[in-house]
């Protein structure tokens, strides 16, 4: 069997080298698909068509399988995130402490449903299935930073701050 040569990097963007590094570390094994997509997501912020194609070809995984995995897991996003992200935890403890109202208020304030980004690309409104900080419910992540016992006033203030930046 001829030796497998991985495809060339899509561009000279340095981040592709990081992605390639993950695959190389795993010997370009097929089971490294999720690991590699994690690297793409953390390097680029989301998975675009080019990235999925490149990873699928490098790992010799059918494109359908790579796309299936990318869409199966909630952690992977196929759309670029906003400049800022407000992630509201909707786990049970947070729900009992009224997080559904936080979501409704944020949706009203930003005029977008959860899971979307404002038209100007500034703020993404996401929900999470429990971040495991239930002792501090209700919890939100503002740009990845965990804030516990969030009130709607506090949350709206943060959204205002981001809007005028």
């Amino acid at each position: 069997m001829p030796a497998f040569t991985p495809p060339p990097l899509p561009s000279d963007d340095k981040r592709w080298k990081i992605v390639n590094g993950t695959m190389r570390k795993n010997g370009f094994a097929r089971h490294a698909l999720i690991e590699t997509l994690h690297t793409v997501q953390s390097s680029f912020g989301y998975l675009d068509d080019d990235a999925i194609r490149f990873v699928a070809r490098s790992l010799r995984v059918p494109l359908s399988q790579a796309y299936g995995v990318a869409t199966f897991y909630h952690h992977f996003s196929l759309k670029p995130p906003g400049k800022h992200t407000m992630t509201i935890c909707t786990g049970t403890a947070c729900y009992i402490k009224g997080t559904d109202k936080l979501v409704a208020e944020a949706e009203k304030h930003l005029k977008i449903p959860q899971g979307q980004t404002t038209k100007d690309g500034n703020i993404s409104l996401m929900t999470a299935r429990c971040v495991g900080a239930c002792g501090r419910a209700p919890v939100v992540l503002t740009d990845g930073e965990l804030v516990g016992q969030m009130t709607s006033a506090q949350m709206l203030e943060q959204l205002e701050r981001w809007a005028v930046e």
């Binding site: 097929r30 089971h31 490294a32 698909l33 999720i34 690991e35 997509l37 994690h38 995984v61 399988q65 299936g68 995995v69 199966f72 897991y73 909630h74 952690h75 992977f76 909707t90 786990g91 049970t92 403890a93 947070c94 729900y95 009992i96 402490k97 999470a128 299935r129 429990c130 971040v131 495991g132 900080a133 239930c134 002792g135 501090r136 419910a137 919890v139 930073e145 965990l146 804030v147 516990g148």
Partner: protein, 551 residues
């Protein structure tokens, strides 16, 4: 590494700390870190240096009482301070050697005294990023003992005697599982640690991985020796970045100390572990789905048998246990299976860690002997429902569990008792609800969770949960009919009996348990068009989500 070398490390670490008059432990678990306990720790270190105190400031894992965080524990006096921030550092440092800072002191002795810590014995006492801290508290004694003094069968026998059952929720006897994997043929076997703690409202595994990662690794290594595996995987949720980083660090340290890698303790036993990140799929907590995920595929479960113990990861015999199960292994080997079996109830041995959250005063992690009454956990250790509200229900077992009313508070917590009453142990989430929670809405919340988390492979789960959600939404919106209740019970039975994996089989539990104990609330919604808790908007038009389902 020999037992003598291990003792020497422990001795010298203890001697190093003994030089200090005081040890100041600062909780740096996720809960307290979110309130900047890292800044508090730095401020304390500065204050101690500035005041010339002979004290050591240590980063530790979770101390359990998340409600009162950030927490600081000053040893040897065991003074616990609550709600600390960097501005309190000077006062705490100044109090060393004198009277404690009264206004910060946390006076919750009864909260801690009613607990028994086995899994959490080191949490809050050691630096989770220092392997020597773990060794100084008898860490790795069990692994060295197993490798040098015990045959693999002896190890399995001790686990069997201990009566330990899987802490992930199923409650399968651990010794039996290990025995099956050990008997399976083939020279390549795997050990997997299931850290895909997807139950919302549960954070025991996160806390153990963050606070005492070496304990989990030691448990895995002992398991690998017992069943004859040489490779392990730890599957952790990507939502737990701190747990991932602390476990990564733990692996590196263990390799450096020769406790992981080739020929551990100069024996033929070799074992190495890799971390695999979850990607946000609840179903991956199911063992065959988790295996598919490690193989780089979509996390869809497979029919069992064959069980992973016979044909698991890449078709090889695989042992899968939960984080908390592995965390129990080292103390069992150290103290013997009989010691473990002396705790707990008839058929549920040992202790269990619960995440106590919701409408309860002392939110956080507690570890109690099995068999303890629910009332003691909620009213005693948990401090009851705050703000003058009354207790309505406690939900155990996450989306697969059930809601138990006040009348059930006197049952003892064990695998069998909870299942008998329509709930389940689950991984250990315990969410308390008061009179402001609507039980119909709660049932809808859980079904919505299972509906969105259903992997879509089998129809009962995929379509059944969607239909149940549509009915519950109808009832919540005041458009329900009494026939809907029969339909719900019918659907529940179908989904329960015919789903492929645990997700579908247990998804109806929240509906069935609320129907059993809170049927009057359903009737209020349907007949009187009112929501007793004032949660549901009874005149709401058909929700968009329901229309989507029907379309």
């Amino acid at each position: 590494m020999t037992i003598e070398e291990l003792d020497q490390i422990a001795e010298s670490t203890r001697a190093e700390y003994a030089k200090f008059d005081n040890e100041i432990n600062v909780c740096m678990g996720t809960g307290c870190l979110s309130q900047h306990s890292d800044q508090l720790k730095d401020a304390l270190a500065k204050a101690v240096a500035a005041q010339g105190k002979n004290a050591f400031v240590r980063r530790t894992g979770c101390m359990g009482l998340c409600a009162a965080g950030p927490l600081v524990l000053v040893d040897p006096d065991e003074t616990l301070y609550q709600h600390c921030n960097a501005s309190h550092a000077d006062a705490i440092a100044a109090s060393l050697g004198g009277a404690p800072v009264a206004e910060l002191q946390c006076d919750l002795r009864e909260h801690f005294e009613q607990q028994v810590h086995v899994v959490l014995e080191n949490s809050g006492h050691i630096d989770p990023e220092k392997i020597d801290d773990y060794i100084a508290r008898d860490g790795y004694q069990a692994l060295v003992k197993a490798l040098t003094e015990m045959a693999p069968n002896d190890v399995i026998q001790q686990i069997t005697i201990s009566g330990l059952r899987g802490r992930g929720g199923g409650g399968y006897p651990t010794g039996l599982k290990w025995g099956t994997v050990a008997k399976a043929g083939g020279d390549l076997k795997y050990v997997i640690c299931n850290g895909d703690e997807g139950d919302p409202g549960a954070f025991m595994d996160r806390s153990v991985l963050e606070s005492d990662p070496q304990r989990v690794l030691e448990g895995m290594a002992i398991a690998a020796y017992a069943v004859g595996a040489s490779k392990g995987y730890v599957y952790v949720r990507a939502e737990y970045p701190l747990a991932v980083s602390r476990f990564t660090n733990c692996l590196r340290d263990a390799r450096r100390r020769g406790l992981l890698g080739n020929n551990i303790c100069n024996t033929p036993f070799s074992f190495d572990v890799e971390i695999r990140l979850g990607a946000g799929a609840f179903v991956c907590g199911e063992e065959t789905a988790l295996i598919a995920s490690i193989e780089g595929k979509r996390g869809q479960p497979k029919p069992r048998p064959p069980y992973p113990a016979v044909s698991g990861l890449w078709g090889k015999p695989t042992l899968i246990n939960n984080v908390e199960t592995f965390a129990n292994i080292a103390p069992i080997i150290r103290n013997g299976g009989k010691w473990f079996a002396s705790m707990g109830s008839e058929r549920s041995k040992g202790t269990k860690v619960f995440a106590l959250t919701g409408k309860i005063t002392n939110t956080g992690l507690v570890e109690v002997p099995m068999g303890i009454k629910l009332r003691q956990i909620i009213e005693g250790i948990g401090g009851g429902v705050p703000d003058g509200h009354t207790f309505k229900a406690v939900q155990t077992g996450g989306p697969s569990g059930g809601c138990l009313p006040a009348e059930m508070l006197d049952i003892g917590v064990s695998y069998d008792a909870l299942v008998r009453e329509g709930a389940m142990m689950g991984s250990g989430g315990m969410i308390v609800m008061d009179d402001t929670s609507c039980m119909v809405n709660v049932a809808r919340f859980f079904i919505e969770f299972c509906m969105t988390e259903s992997c879509g492979k089998c129809i009962p789960c995929r379509a059944g949960t969607a239909q149940m959600h549509a009915i519950l939404t109808r009832i919540c919106d005041g458009r329900g009919a009494m026939e809907d209740l029969d339909l719900l019970v019918d659907l529940c039975a179908t989904v329960k009996e015919t789903s492929l994996c645990g997700l579908g089989m247990t998804a109806p539990n929240p509906v069935l348990s609320t129907l059993k104990y809170f049927k009057n609330e359903y009737i209020d919604h349907i007949v009187h068009k009112r929501c007793p808790a004032g949660v549901c908007n009874m005149q709401a038009p058909a929700a968009a989500s329901e229309l989507e389902v029907l379309a």
